[in-house]
């Protein structure tokens, strides 16, 4: 009797979207608290910790990703409006952007071109298949845009989203040390470089270090979304033409 009660409860919990949504928020808040407690150490990145916690929970309870996503999609959905919301920091920083317009756009175009070709070339050289190479090209764009681009150029949208999140985590963890190593001092330069290489997750990290760096990173991720959407179809087509 008690056993069947528990069983019906389990069936309810394992199929209700409420569970996926709730565990996502609990995992994030746990990760967030840990991040605070360790003095915002880059290795306790909130996305990284949340993802690990959630995968452990799903594996232990033998839950499919699709079932989990029924609930988590309510959070995932907000990636659309948050992309539109990037217009606000862009607008607020517009005077700065106008002043530095040419260096910002040129350096971002250079970074995207060199980075994309390098990434696709490395992947091809080390034996990744074509779908992986194309999906990798959009890795440095914020997830919703990356998925949209991947769909248009023949990548795998869900794989691209994962690669984008991983790229963001790597950028957030290594970014500031690396830029210090390159002896970059200017916060506007740091912000632009972080946003262009590791989008929203890098930007979130930049905001915890310095508001101006964060604003530039936010600006850069918004511009990167636009530039990548325009450039990647051509870059990928060109790369595939040259490498056959």
């Amino acid at each position: 009797m008690q056993n069947t009660d528990l069983q019906t409860l389990w069936v309810y919990l394992s199929t209700s979207p409420l569970t996926g949504l709730t565990i996502t928020l609990v995992a994030y808040l746990t990760a967030y608290t840990l991040h605070r407690k360790t003095g915002t150490h880059p290795l306790t990145n909130t996305v990284l910790i949340s993802v690990i916690l959630l995968i452990l929970i799903l594996e232990v309870t033998d839950t499919e990703y699709a079932t989990y996503f029924e609930g988590a999609q309510f959070i995932h959905f907000l990636l659309g409006p948050v992309t539109v919301a990037l217009a606000i920091p862009l607008f607020q920083q517009f005077a700065q952007v106008k002043r530095l317009f040419i260096p910002i756009i040129l350096s971002m175009v250079i970074g995207i071109t060199v980075g994309t070709i390098a990434v696709m070339f490395i992947a091809k050289l080390l034996g990744a298949d074509l779908a992986t190479q194309i999906s990798l090209s959009a890795r440095s764009v914020t997830a919703p845009v990356a998925m949209g681009i991947a769909e248009k150029i023949g990548g795998i949208p869900s794989l691209t989203a994962v690669l984008a999140v991983l790229t963001g985590i790597i950028g957030a963890v290594l970014g500031t040390h690396y830029l210090n190593l390159l002896k970059i001092k200017d916060n506007s330069v740091k912000g632009i470089a972080i946003g262009n290489s590791s989008h929203g997750i890098g930007t979130a990290r930049a905001f915890t270090l310095n508001t101006s760096m964060g604003a530039f990173a936010g600006l850069s991720m918004a511009l990167a979304a636009l530039l990548n959407a325009l450039m990647l179809p051509w870059l990928v087509k060109g790369f595939l033409l040259v490498t056959g």
């Binding site: 696709m120 992947a123 992986t132 290489s197």
Partner: protein, 134 residues
């Protein structure tokens, strides 16, 4: 009593505006077959509107600022569901772990490095040019 800002109606207005612009973006991209994703088109439309309002010395509406900041402050959270999707691709990642790992790490370092160094160079270059011409 003054209007209570914590009633959340500002946030609701802002969210609605963001969704309307996303919708405009998605619809126009599909109708005109534009090469950019819908939310990016929505971002552009909103930016153009804000800049046009700025011409008449109007700041960004507070409701938009509030809801945008609320979303942007917890940007990390929004990436979590997509990140968990890594479990669907475990097999591909197992087969291609080497190219993917190397490409991701070097991709970040190369993109970040070339962007930072070229921007630093270009800023100095344009600074010098500006000083010379003045």
């Amino acid at each position: 009593m003054k209007a209570n800002k914590s009633s959340g109606i500002e946030f609701l207005f802002g969210m609605t505006a963001l969704l309307i612009f996303q919708l405009l973006g998605e619809v126009s991209v599909r109708l005109l077959d534009l090469p950019v994703p819908g939310p990016v088109a929505g971002l552009l439309y909103l930016l153009v509107l804000l800049l046009a309002m700025g011409k008449f010395k109007r700041p960004a509406p507070e409701s938009l600022e509030q809801s945008s900041l609320a979303l942007l402050n917890h940007l990390s959270l929004l990436f979590v569901p997509a990140g968990v999707g890594v479990m669907v691709h475990f097999q591909r990642l197992e087969e291609e772990w080497l190219p993917i790992t190397v490409a991701l790490f070097l991709g970040v370092l190369i993109t970040m490095g070339t962007t930072a160094l070229s921007m630093q160079f270009l800023m100095r270059f344009f600074d010098k040019k500006a000083k010379k011409s003045s």
